[in-house]
Protein backbone atom coordinates (compact mmCIF):
# COMPACT_ATOMS: atom_id res chain seq x y z
CA UNK A 1 0.00 0.00 0.00
CA UNK A 2 1.15 3.53 -0.79
CA UNK A 3 0.08 6.87 0.63
CA UNK A 4 0.97 10.51 0.13
CA UNK A 5 0.53 11.04 3.86
CA UNK A 6 -0.40 8.84 6.81
CA UNK A 7 -2.24 10.31 9.78
CA UNK A 8 -1.95 8.34 13.01
CA UNK A 9 -5.07 8.79 15.14
CA UNK A 10 -8.75 9.04 14.21
CA UNK A 11 -9.82 11.41 16.95
CA UNK A 12 -11.21 14.82 16.07
CA UNK A 13 -7.70 16.17 15.39
CA UNK A 14 -6.68 13.41 12.97
CA UNK A 15 -9.98 13.48 11.12
CA UNK A 16 -9.93 17.29 10.88
CA UNK A 17 -6.40 17.15 9.46
CA UNK A 18 -7.49 14.54 6.92
CA UNK A 19 -10.43 16.68 5.81
CA UNK A 20 -8.32 19.83 5.53
CA UNK A 21 -5.60 18.09 3.52
CA UNK A 22 -8.25 16.58 1.24
CA UNK A 23 -9.96 19.89 0.44
CA UNK A 24 -6.53 21.28 -0.46
CA UNK A 25 -6.32 18.60 -3.13
CA UNK A 26 -3.96 16.15 -1.42
CA UNK A 27 -4.62 12.61 -2.70
CA UNK A 28 -3.92 9.24 -1.11
CA UNK A 29 -4.49 10.26 2.49
CA UNK A 30 -4.64 7.35 4.94
CA UNK A 31 -5.83 7.64 8.55
CA UNK A 32 -4.84 4.76 10.85
CA UNK A 33 -6.27 4.16 14.31
CA UNK A 34 -5.67 1.29 16.70
CA UNK A 35 -9.35 1.35 17.68
CA UNK A 36 -12.54 2.99 16.42
CA UNK A 37 -13.07 6.65 15.60
CA UNK A 38 -13.29 8.87 18.74
CA UNK A 39 -12.19 5.93 20.92
CA UNK A 40 -9.61 8.02 22.75
CA UNK A 41 -9.93 11.45 24.31
CA UNK A 42 -12.40 12.82 21.72
CA UNK A 43 -15.16 10.44 22.73
CA UNK A 44 -14.44 10.96 26.40
CA UNK A 45 -14.21 14.74 26.51
CA UNK A 46 -16.52 17.34 28.00
CA UNK A 47 -16.83 18.84 24.49
CA UNK A 48 -17.13 22.43 25.61
CA UNK A 49 -15.75 25.05 23.24
CA UNK A 50 -14.56 28.32 24.71
CA UNK A 51 -12.54 31.38 23.80
CA UNK A 52 -11.83 32.59 27.33
CA UNK A 53 -8.14 31.82 27.58
CA UNK A 54 -5.19 33.43 29.25
CA UNK A 55 -2.69 33.18 26.40
CA UNK A 56 -2.93 34.83 23.01
CA UNK A 57 -2.15 31.58 21.22
CA UNK A 58 -5.02 29.70 22.80
CA UNK A 59 -7.44 32.63 22.38
CA UNK A 60 -6.88 32.89 18.63
CA UNK A 61 -7.03 29.12 18.05
CA UNK A 62 -10.31 28.97 19.95
CA UNK A 63 -11.89 31.97 18.28
CA UNK A 64 -11.18 30.74 14.77
CA UNK A 65 -12.30 27.23 15.66
CA UNK A 66 -15.63 28.47 17.01
CA UNK A 67 -16.13 30.44 13.81
CA UNK A 68 -15.80 27.11 12.02
CA UNK A 69 -18.21 25.28 14.35
CA UNK A 70 -20.84 27.99 13.76
CA UNK A 71 -21.18 26.98 10.12
CA UNK A 72 -19.74 23.45 10.27
CA UNK A 73 -22.97 21.68 9.29
CA UNK A 74 -23.14 23.67 6.05
CA UNK A 75 -19.42 23.66 5.33
CA UNK A 76 -19.18 19.90 5.73
CA UNK A 77 -22.64 19.32 4.16
CA UNK A 78 -23.50 17.14 7.13
CA UNK A 79 -27.02 15.72 7.07
CA UNK A 80 -27.16 15.10 10.82
CA UNK A 81 -27.02 17.60 13.69
CA UNK A 82 -23.73 18.44 15.44
CA UNK A 83 -25.81 19.75 18.37
CA UNK A 84 -23.94 23.03 18.67
CA UNK A 85 -25.34 24.85 21.69
CA UNK A 86 -23.88 28.34 21.72
CA UNK A 87 -24.97 29.70 25.07
CA UNK A 88 -21.69 30.76 26.53
CA UNK A 89 -19.29 29.92 29.32
CA UNK A 90 -19.59 31.45 32.77
CA UNK A 91 -16.23 31.23 34.50
CA UNK A 92 -16.34 31.86 38.23
CA UNK A 93 -13.59 33.65 40.11
CA UNK A 94 -13.33 32.67 43.75
CA UNK A 95 -10.21 34.48 44.96
CA UNK A 96 -8.85 38.04 44.66
CA UNK A 97 -6.02 36.65 42.50
CA UNK A 98 -8.54 35.18 40.09
CA UNK A 99 -10.56 38.42 39.99
CA UNK A 100 -7.43 40.15 38.86
CA UNK A 101 -6.29 37.42 36.46
CA UNK A 102 -9.71 37.25 34.81
CA UNK A 103 -9.80 41.00 34.41
CA UNK A 104 -6.50 40.76 32.53
CA UNK A 105 -7.74 37.77 30.53
CA UNK A 106 -10.86 39.61 29.41
CA UNK A 107 -8.77 42.57 28.31
CA UNK A 108 -6.60 40.22 26.22
CA UNK A 109 -9.65 38.42 24.83
CA UNK A 110 -11.40 41.68 23.91
CA UNK A 111 -8.26 42.92 22.17
CA UNK A 112 -8.49 39.82 19.95
CA UNK A 113 -12.17 40.38 19.18
CA UNK A 114 -13.58 37.86 21.66
CA UNK A 115 -16.83 39.23 23.18
CA UNK A 116 -16.18 38.19 26.78
CA UNK A 117 -17.00 40.45 29.73
CA UNK A 118 -16.47 40.68 33.46
CA UNK A 119 -19.64 40.12 35.52
CA UNK A 120 -20.27 41.03 39.10
CA UNK A 121 -22.18 38.64 41.32
CA UNK A 122 -25.58 40.04 40.39
CA UNK A 123 -24.91 39.79 36.68
CA UNK A 124 -23.58 36.25 37.03
CA UNK A 125 -26.69 35.22 38.95
CA UNK A 126 -28.79 36.56 36.11
CA UNK A 127 -27.04 34.11 33.76
CA UNK A 128 -27.25 31.13 36.15
CA UNK A 129 -29.74 31.97 38.93
CA UNK A 130 -29.09 28.93 41.13
CA UNK A 131 -25.41 29.61 41.78
CA UNK A 132 -24.71 29.83 45.49
CA UNK A 133 -23.79 33.51 45.82
CA UNK A 134 -21.29 32.89 48.64
CA UNK A 135 -19.30 30.43 46.52
CA UNK A 136 -17.73 32.96 44.14
CA UNK A 137 -16.56 36.55 44.00
CA UNK A 138 -17.02 37.54 40.36
CA UNK A 139 -17.22 35.90 36.96
CA UNK A 140 -16.48 36.30 33.29
CA UNK A 141 -18.96 35.45 30.59
CA UNK A 142 -18.59 34.96 26.87
CA UNK A 143 -21.89 34.36 25.06
CA UNK A 144 -20.39 32.83 21.92
CA UNK A 145 -18.68 29.95 23.72
CA UNK A 146 -20.60 26.71 23.76
CA UNK A 147 -20.80 22.97 23.51
CA UNK A 148 -21.29 20.37 20.82
CA UNK A 149 -21.53 16.63 20.34
CA UNK A 150 -17.99 15.25 19.89
CA UNK A 151 -19.16 12.07 18.15
CA UNK A 152 -21.32 13.92 15.65
CA UNK A 153 -18.68 16.59 15.02
CA UNK A 154 -16.02 13.97 14.28
CA UNK A 155 -18.49 12.07 12.13
CA UNK A 156 -19.22 15.24 10.14
CA UNK A 157 -15.51 15.58 9.31
CA UNK A 158 -15.27 11.83 8.67
CA UNK A 159 -18.18 11.68 6.22
CA UNK A 160 -16.83 14.59 4.20
CA UNK A 161 -13.25 13.28 4.28
CA UNK A 162 -14.41 9.87 3.05
CA UNK A 163 -16.37 11.53 0.26
CA UNK A 164 -13.15 13.32 -0.74
CA UNK A 165 -11.36 9.98 -0.98
CA UNK A 166 -9.58 9.71 2.37
CA UNK A 167 -9.01 6.11 3.41
CA UNK A 168 -9.57 5.06 7.03
CA UNK A 169 -8.02 1.98 8.63
CA UNK A 170 -9.61 1.19 11.99
CA UNK A 171 -8.55 -1.40 14.55
CA UNK A 172 -5.06 -1.34 13.13
CA UNK A 173 -2.13 -0.47 15.38
CA UNK A 174 0.92 1.32 14.02
CA UNK A 175 3.92 -0.72 15.13
CA UNK A 176 6.79 1.19 13.59
CA UNK A 177 7.78 4.03 11.30
CA UNK A 178 10.74 3.30 9.04
CA UNK A 179 13.38 5.95 8.27
CA UNK A 180 16.10 5.79 5.65
CA UNK A 181 18.77 8.49 5.26
CA UNK A 182 16.84 10.92 7.42
CA UNK A 183 13.63 10.43 5.46
CA UNK A 184 10.47 8.56 6.38
CA UNK A 185 9.93 5.63 4.01
CA UNK A 186 7.00 3.71 5.43
CA UNK A 187 4.59 3.06 8.27
CA UNK A 188 4.11 -0.52 9.41
CA UNK A 189 0.92 -1.64 11.10
CA UNK A 190 0.07 -5.09 12.39
CA UNK A 191 -1.62 -5.79 9.05
CA UNK A 192 0.45 -4.06 6.36
CA UNK A 193 3.23 -1.72 5.36
CA UNK A 194 2.22 1.64 3.94
CA UNK A 195 4.88 3.32 1.80
CA UNK A 196 4.89 7.03 2.55
CA UNK A 197 7.20 9.99 3.11
CA UNK A 198 4.89 11.93 5.37
CA UNK A 199 3.39 11.07 8.73
CA UNK A 200 1.20 13.14 11.05
CA UNK A 201 1.25 12.24 14.72
CA UNK A 202 -2.29 12.94 15.94
CA UNK A 203 -2.27 10.08 18.41
CA UNK A 204 -3.63 12.06 21.36
CA UNK A 205 -2.85 10.18 24.56
CA UNK A 206 -0.28 8.07 22.74
CA UNK A 207 1.48 10.93 20.92
CA UNK A 208 4.62 10.51 23.01
CA UNK A 209 4.93 6.84 22.07
CA UNK A 210 4.42 7.62 18.37
CA UNK A 211 7.15 10.27 18.65
CA UNK A 212 9.53 7.69 20.12
CA UNK A 213 8.97 5.50 17.03
CA UNK A 214 11.01 8.04 15.08
CA UNK A 215 13.34 8.88 17.96
CA UNK A 216 11.68 12.15 18.92
CA UNK A 217 11.05 12.74 22.60
CA UNK A 218 8.01 15.03 22.46
CA UNK A 219 7.71 16.73 25.86
CA UNK A 220 4.15 15.60 26.57
CA UNK A 221 2.58 13.17 28.98
CA UNK A 222 -0.89 11.74 29.47
CA UNK A 223 -2.95 11.80 32.63
CA UNK A 224 -6.41 10.60 33.55
CA UNK A 225 -9.20 13.15 33.88
CA UNK A 226 -12.52 11.89 35.13
CA UNK A 227 -16.02 13.03 34.27
CA UNK A 228 -19.59 12.08 35.09
CA UNK A 229 -23.03 12.39 33.56
CA UNK A 230 -26.29 12.87 35.48
CA UNK A 231 -29.85 11.84 34.73
CA UNK A 232 -31.54 14.20 32.26
CA UNK A 233 -33.88 16.96 33.39
CA UNK A 234 -35.69 19.74 31.52
CA UNK A 235 -33.41 22.48 30.29
CA UNK A 236 -32.28 24.72 33.12
CA UNK A 237 -28.71 25.80 32.31
CA UNK A 238 -27.58 27.68 29.23
CA UNK A 239 -23.85 28.22 29.69
CA UNK A 240 -21.07 25.96 30.86
CA UNK A 241 -20.26 26.87 34.46
CA UNK A 242 -16.61 26.57 35.25
CA UNK A 243 -14.10 27.41 37.97
CA UNK A 244 -10.36 26.79 37.90
CA UNK A 245 -9.81 27.38 41.60
CA UNK A 246 -12.76 25.17 42.58
CA UNK A 247 -11.74 22.67 39.93
CA UNK A 248 -15.01 22.08 38.10
CA UNK A 249 -16.72 22.38 34.76
CA UNK A 250 -20.43 21.70 34.45
CA UNK A 251 -22.57 21.75 31.32
CA UNK A 252 -26.13 20.71 30.58
CA UNK A 253 -26.19 19.03 27.17
CA UNK A 254 -29.24 19.31 24.86
CA UNK A 255 -30.44 15.86 25.96
CA UNK A 256 -30.86 17.28 29.47
CA UNK A 257 -28.02 15.49 31.25
CA UNK A 258 -25.29 17.38 33.04
CA UNK A 259 -21.65 16.63 32.21
CA UNK A 260 -19.45 17.47 35.18
CA UNK A 261 -15.70 17.03 35.44
CA UNK A 262 -12.62 17.98 37.39
CA UNK A 263 -8.93 17.25 37.31
CA UNK A 264 -7.08 15.20 39.86
CA UNK A 265 -3.94 17.00 41.07
CA UNK A 266 -2.48 13.65 42.08
CA UNK A 267 -3.08 11.91 38.74
CA UNK A 268 -0.11 9.85 37.60
CA UNK A 269 1.51 10.44 34.24
CA UNK A 270 0.29 7.33 32.45
CA UNK A 271 -2.48 5.89 30.29
CA UNK A 272 -4.86 5.09 33.11
CA UNK A 273 -8.49 5.91 32.22
CA UNK A 274 -10.20 4.19 35.12
CA UNK A 275 -12.98 5.59 37.31
CA UNK A 276 -12.61 6.22 41.02
CA UNK A 277 -15.00 6.74 43.93
CA UNK A 278 -12.76 9.56 45.10
CA UNK A 279 -13.71 11.49 41.98
CA UNK A 280 -17.42 11.14 42.73
CA UNK A 281 -16.85 12.21 46.31
CA UNK A 282 -14.85 15.33 45.42
CA UNK A 283 -17.09 16.21 42.48
CA UNK A 284 -20.25 15.98 44.58
CA UNK A 285 -18.75 18.27 47.24
CA UNK A 286 -17.81 20.90 44.68
CA UNK A 287 -21.18 20.76 42.90
CA UNK A 288 -23.04 21.12 46.20
CA UNK A 289 -20.85 24.08 47.10
CA UNK A 290 -21.42 26.01 43.85
CA UNK A 291 -24.79 24.71 42.61
CA UNK A 292 -26.64 22.82 45.37
CA UNK A 293 -29.60 22.29 43.04
CA UNK A 294 -27.52 20.26 40.58
CA UNK A 295 -26.33 18.25 43.57
CA UNK A 296 -29.82 16.77 43.80
CA UNK A 297 -29.44 14.97 40.48
CA UNK A 298 -28.47 11.32 40.28
CA UNK A 299 -25.26 10.26 38.63
CA UNK A 300 -25.86 7.88 35.74
CA UNK A 301 -22.31 7.06 34.74
CA UNK A 302 -18.68 8.12 35.10
CA UNK A 303 -15.59 7.56 32.99
CA UNK A 304 -12.05 8.78 32.43
CA UNK A 305 -9.99 9.96 29.50
CA UNK A 306 -6.45 11.09 28.77
CA UNK A 307 -5.36 14.72 28.72
CA UNK A 308 -2.16 14.95 26.69
CA UNK A 309 -0.29 17.70 28.47
CA UNK A 310 2.47 19.95 27.17
CA UNK A 311 4.88 21.98 29.34
CA UNK A 312 3.05 25.28 28.77
CA UNK A 313 -0.38 23.69 28.29
CA UNK A 314 -0.62 25.05 24.78
CA UNK A 315 -0.75 22.63 21.84
CA UNK A 316 2.15 21.42 19.75
CA UNK A 317 1.24 21.88 16.08
CA UNK A 318 4.48 21.64 14.24
CA UNK A 319 6.85 20.06 11.80
CA UNK A 320 10.18 18.71 13.03
CA UNK A 321 13.52 20.21 12.00
CA UNK A 322 15.44 16.97 12.41
CA UNK A 323 12.95 14.83 10.50
CA UNK A 324 11.32 16.40 7.45
CA UNK A 325 7.98 14.78 6.67
CA UNK A 326 7.04 14.22 10.32
CA UNK A 327 4.31 16.45 11.69
CA UNK A 328 2.93 16.72 15.20
CA UNK A 329 -0.51 17.77 16.48
CA UNK A 330 -0.64 16.86 20.16
CA UNK A 331 -0.22 18.23 23.69
CA UNK A 332 -3.60 19.95 23.63
CA UNK A 333 -3.75 19.66 27.40
CA UNK A 334 -7.43 18.81 27.47
CA UNK A 335 -8.54 21.15 24.70
CA UNK A 336 -7.91 19.28 21.48
CA UNK A 337 -11.58 19.01 20.67
CA UNK A 338 -12.29 22.73 20.72
CA UNK A 339 -9.12 23.57 18.75
CA UNK A 340 -9.51 20.79 16.16
CA UNK A 341 -10.78 22.92 13.26
CA UNK A 342 -7.67 25.12 13.44
CA UNK A 343 -5.33 22.19 14.16
CA UNK A 344 -6.45 20.72 10.85
CA UNK A 345 -5.98 23.97 8.98
CA UNK A 346 -2.53 24.67 10.46
CA UNK A 347 -1.08 21.19 9.94
CA UNK A 348 -2.33 21.31 6.34
CA UNK A 349 -0.66 24.66 5.75
CA UNK A 350 2.58 23.42 7.32
CA UNK A 351 2.53 20.22 5.24
CA UNK A 352 1.89 22.15 2.03
CA UNK A 353 4.48 24.83 2.90
CA UNK A 354 1.88 27.57 2.73
CA UNK A 355 1.82 30.68 4.90
CA UNK A 356 -0.16 29.81 8.04
CA UNK A 357 -3.50 31.52 8.58
CA UNK A 358 -2.43 32.53 12.06
CA UNK A 359 0.92 32.94 13.76
CA UNK A 360 1.82 29.34 14.56
CA UNK A 361 5.12 30.09 16.28
CA UNK A 362 3.48 29.64 19.69
CA UNK A 363 2.76 26.02 18.82
CA UNK A 364 6.17 25.02 17.44
CA UNK A 365 7.88 21.99 18.91
CA UNK A 366 11.23 23.79 19.21
CA UNK A 367 9.78 26.44 21.54
CA UNK A 368 10.70 24.07 24.37
CA UNK A 369 14.27 23.42 23.15
CA UNK A 370 14.93 27.10 22.69
CA UNK A 371 13.48 27.84 26.12
CA UNK A 372 11.62 30.76 24.57
CA UNK A 373 8.48 29.84 26.47
CA UNK A 374 7.17 32.98 28.05
CA UNK A 375 3.52 32.18 28.51
CA UNK A 376 1.87 29.51 30.58
CA UNK A 377 -1.84 28.76 30.31
CA UNK A 378 -3.41 28.98 33.77
CA UNK A 379 -7.00 28.72 32.59
CA UNK A 380 -7.22 24.94 32.58
CA UNK A 381 -9.35 22.44 34.50
Amino acid sequence: MKAEIVIIGAGITGVSIAYNLAIQGVKDIVVVDKSFMTSGATGRCGAGVRQQWGTKGNCIMAKKSIEFFESATDTLEYDDDIEFKQEGYLILATTPEEDELFFENVRLQNSLGIPSRVCNKKEALKVVPYLRPESFTSATYCPTDGHLNPFKMTDAYFQKAKQLGVEFLFFETVESIEINNGKITSVTTEKRTIKTNKVVNAAGGYAHEVGLMVGIDIPVYSENHEILVTEPVDKMQGPMVMSFSKNIYCQQVPHGSFLIGRSNPEAKHDHDISSSWQFLDEMAKTVCDIMPKIGELRVIRQWGGSYNISPDRQPIISDVKSLPGFYIACGFSGHGFMFAPMSGVLITEIVLNKPTSLDASDYRLDRFEDKIVTEYEKSVV
Binding site: E231, P232, V233, D234, M236, G256, K293, E296, R298
Partner: protein, 121 residues
Protein backbone atom coordinates in the same frame (compact mmCIF):
# COMPACT_ATOMS: atom_id res chain seq x y z
CA UNK B 1 -54.26 9.00 30.26
CA UNK B 2 -56.74 6.81 28.48
CA UNK B 3 -60.23 5.76 29.31
CA UNK B 4 -59.05 2.41 30.53
CA UNK B 5 -57.22 3.95 33.42
CA UNK B 6 -60.07 6.31 34.21
CA UNK B 7 -62.58 3.48 34.37
CA UNK B 8 -60.42 1.21 36.49
CA UNK B 9 -59.71 4.03 38.85
CA UNK B 10 -63.42 4.69 39.24
CA UNK B 11 -64.08 1.01 39.75
CA UNK B 12 -61.49 0.95 42.47
CA UNK B 13 -62.82 3.98 44.21
CA UNK B 14 -66.21 2.27 44.34
CA UNK B 15 -64.77 -0.99 45.60
CA UNK B 16 -64.40 -1.55 49.32
CA UNK B 17 -62.28 -4.66 48.83
CA UNK B 18 -59.13 -2.73 47.89
CA UNK B 19 -59.23 -3.03 44.12
CA UNK B 20 -59.10 -5.71 41.51
CA UNK B 21 -55.39 -6.26 41.41
CA UNK B 22 -54.73 -7.58 44.89
CA UNK B 23 -54.69 -11.19 45.96
CA UNK B 24 -57.03 -11.58 48.86
CA UNK B 25 -57.52 -15.29 49.08
CA UNK B 26 -54.79 -17.84 48.61
CA UNK B 27 -54.83 -21.59 49.28
CA UNK B 28 -51.68 -21.56 51.40
CA UNK B 29 -50.66 -18.01 52.20
CA UNK B 30 -52.54 -15.65 54.40
CA UNK B 31 -52.89 -11.96 53.54
CA UNK B 32 -53.64 -9.92 56.59
CA UNK B 33 -55.77 -6.81 56.30
CA UNK B 34 -53.45 -3.80 56.28
CA UNK B 35 -54.01 -0.19 57.14
CA UNK B 36 -55.29 2.05 54.33
CA UNK B 37 -53.03 4.90 53.26
CA UNK B 38 -54.71 7.79 51.48
CA UNK B 39 -52.77 9.85 48.94
CA UNK B 40 -53.42 12.05 45.92
CA UNK B 41 -52.74 10.89 42.38
CA UNK B 42 -53.12 13.46 39.59
CA UNK B 43 -55.46 15.42 41.80
CA UNK B 44 -57.71 12.53 42.83
CA UNK B 45 -57.79 11.13 46.34
CA UNK B 46 -57.02 7.40 46.26
CA UNK B 47 -55.60 4.85 48.66
CA UNK B 48 -53.15 2.00 48.93
CA UNK B 49 -52.17 -0.14 51.90
CA UNK B 50 -49.39 0.01 54.45
CA UNK B 51 -46.29 -1.58 52.99
CA UNK B 52 -47.02 -0.47 49.42
CA UNK B 53 -44.57 1.45 47.32
CA UNK B 54 -46.14 4.29 45.35
CA UNK B 55 -45.93 2.21 42.18
CA UNK B 56 -47.40 -0.94 43.73
CA UNK B 57 -50.34 1.08 45.03
CA UNK B 58 -50.89 2.62 41.61
CA UNK B 59 -50.58 -0.77 39.93
CA UNK B 60 -53.27 -2.16 42.21
CA UNK B 61 -55.40 0.83 41.30
CA UNK B 62 -55.11 -0.19 37.67
CA UNK B 63 -52.73 2.58 36.60
CA UNK B 64 -50.85 0.94 33.75
CA UNK B 65 -49.24 3.98 32.15
CA UNK B 66 -46.77 5.45 34.62
CA UNK B 67 -44.81 7.75 32.31
CA UNK B 68 -44.33 8.61 28.66
CA UNK B 69 -41.22 8.53 26.50
CA UNK B 70 -39.78 12.04 26.14
CA UNK B 71 -39.39 12.20 22.36
CA UNK B 72 -42.16 10.04 20.90
CA UNK B 73 -44.59 10.32 23.81
CA UNK B 74 -45.09 6.57 23.95
CA UNK B 75 -46.71 4.99 26.98
CA UNK B 76 -44.33 3.45 29.52
CA UNK B 77 -45.42 0.92 32.09
CA UNK B 78 -44.23 -0.31 35.47
CA UNK B 79 -41.12 -2.12 34.29
CA UNK B 80 -38.06 -3.12 36.32
CA UNK B 81 -39.54 -2.58 39.79
CA UNK B 82 -36.08 -2.35 41.37
CA UNK B 83 -35.20 1.29 40.77
CA UNK B 84 -33.03 0.83 37.72
CA UNK B 85 -34.96 1.65 34.57
CA UNK B 86 -36.53 5.04 35.24
CA UNK B 87 -39.83 4.02 33.67
CA UNK B 88 -41.83 4.88 36.81
CA UNK B 89 -40.40 8.36 37.41
CA UNK B 90 -43.10 10.65 38.79
CA UNK B 91 -43.38 13.98 40.55
CA UNK B 92 -43.86 13.29 44.27
CA UNK B 93 -44.51 16.23 46.58
CA UNK B 94 -43.07 18.50 43.88
CA UNK B 95 -39.85 16.51 43.42
CA UNK B 96 -39.40 15.17 39.86
CA UNK B 97 -37.86 11.85 38.81
CA UNK B 98 -38.84 10.01 41.97
CA UNK B 99 -38.47 6.27 41.48
CA UNK B 100 -41.97 5.35 42.60
CA UNK B 101 -41.25 1.60 42.47
CA UNK B 102 -38.82 1.82 45.37
CA UNK B 103 -40.39 4.72 47.28
CA UNK B 104 -42.62 3.68 50.17
CA UNK B 105 -46.13 5.11 50.11
CA UNK B 106 -46.81 7.65 52.85
CA UNK B 107 -50.09 9.22 53.96
CA UNK B 108 -50.95 12.46 52.18
CA UNK B 109 -48.38 12.12 49.41
CA UNK B 110 -49.06 14.24 46.35
CA UNK B 111 -48.17 12.05 43.35
CA UNK B 112 -48.37 13.41 39.82
CA UNK B 113 -47.63 11.94 36.41
CA UNK B 114 -44.47 13.60 35.10
CA UNK B 115 -44.41 15.50 31.85
CA UNK B 116 -41.02 15.82 30.20
CA UNK B 117 -37.71 15.12 31.90
CA UNK B 118 -38.60 16.87 35.13
CA UNK B 119 -38.08 20.36 36.43
CA UNK B 120 -35.87 20.94 39.42
CA UNK B 121 -37.16 23.74 41.58
Amino acid sequence: MGLFYESVLCYHVRSESGGIMRIEKHPILEFKQREKIYFTFDGKEVFGYAGDTIASALDALGVKVVSRSPIHDRARGFYCAIGNCGSCHMVVNGVPNVKTCITRLEPGMNVNTQKGKGQIR
